[in-house]
Amino acid sequence: MDITLIWYLVPALVMFCCGVYGFLTRRNMIAMLISLELMLNAVDINFVVFNRYLFPHSMEGWMFTLFGIAIAAAETALAIAIIINLFRVSKNIDVRDATKMKN
């Protein structure tokens, strides 16, 4: 049985949708961050697969993926730092409670 492009694209799309769903429903900030990681990794899979199956003569997708991984790591590090800071101030990382500014 041949493994074709679609075998990779569907899981990547499912991963992305899980990420969006998790981001919108989860209320713990760390869980939201994990959902964001799912979304970013789905994008990486997409780029690699498109490059491998459709445009194997160039390396643009792979290079983009490498940079994408680095950017995702930087984003996570920054977000975790901010979450830790918030935890120090309020002893709580539930987004439902981070609603002091409302009117």
């Binding site: 979304m39 459709l54 445009f55 950017i71 901010i82 918030l86």
Partner: protein
Amino acid sequence: MDYSQFLALKQEIGLLIVFLLVFLTDTFADKKSAKAVPYIACIFMLAQTAYGFFLSHAPATEAFAGMYATSPVLVAIKNILNVGTLIVLIQSLKWTNSEFVAVRRGEFYELTLLTLLGMYLMISSRHFLMFIIGLETASLPLCALVAFDKHRYESHEAAIKYVLTAVFSSAILLMGLSFVYGLAGTLYYDGIAIGLMGQMGVMLAVALAFVIAGFGFKISLVPFHLWTADVYQGAPTSVTSYLSVISKGSAAFAFLVVLTQVFGAFYADAWEWMLYALIVLTITVGNLFAIRQTNMKRFLAFSSISQAGYIMLAIVGDNAMGISALMFYTLVYIFSNLAAFGVIGAIENATGKVDMTDYNGLYKTNPRLSFTMMLAMFSLAGIPPFAGFFSKFFVFTSTLNGTDSAALYVLVLIALINTIISLYYYLLVVKAMFINDSEQPIATFRSACSERLGMWVCVAGIIGLGIVSYFYDYLLTVVG
């Protein structure tokens, strides 16, 4: 590899030198001379701005196999951003010397200069890899800047909201780009435009919607604006002013470049109506929510959402006049909004008050501040002869230039009606300052020298850009 092509990145290298100088002074200077860091940052930023004007006749060049491009238009856009950043840096001098911030005042200037570098790259890129790197360089330090007031809970809450939405929007934008890559086989702007030719299908429409949504978050267009008010309110005022003018302006320029150069061929098929809907929603919802705000920073957040709608209107008029109108609008918006934020920051630094009711009777105690605020509000609302009127006028003219499409006329009509609605809430602030009486008005105080300098520059900009036609003519010749 030909290393001499790095010399094409003249403004970027200049800014990098400014950044390194500030960074090295901040790291290695002893405690006493560290006080000079803010002044060093301002002076070198002034030099960088002057250098940018010096470059304005440099010919268009490319570097890195066409991944990076520069042209007189891009230099002019970067000059506009430079001017705005310089004013923000000057206005935040007092704040960075205050008690809680002084220990790490250097970080503010370093992070701000880094985000500006990211915005340069974002505007100049002609390849999506370069674009994403620029975008992240611009938005990640901004998240750290929003969390700058360590001792204030609101700052952290704003930062977490900002970082989560920023990453979420980047992920959506990247997903759209991955589909675009799958369809076109390249990430070069011009390559994508050729590769997508005649491929209009569901996948491209989805990809386009994802890309526009990703940008919508950055420029805070309705319905992607939900983070804006909280982040603007929670962030330190200097950072809020930077976010509202420079960050938004650069994202709008990048959006213009991407939409016209990459997806220009699909304008009528795919994104024309998406853009119309976004503009109408953005202007109207921003206006309606601004009416009921009482916190000044929140109020300006919603006002900036509706201003973003006008900025997008200039993108619709996709012609030379539209681009120059966009640049002029951003320039005017920088001066007007920074004047308003300058007053808010000065009052907040002196008394800690940011509520609109606190401004009651301000004219009796602080006439000059009230006058500056009034000019800013008049300019934002678009009252002649101040600059805001002409910037709106040029945006509307460029949208309708050489078209007989009924939809565009309706669009401009809706924008016009919204201008009248916006007059109401901008004048509420003026009324609070000049007419309302207060038992305990804000006491008379003398704002710091740096704050006054920043406000003078802004007032000069508001009046000068309105009366002197040279600036718009210049922008028009640069584009044309």
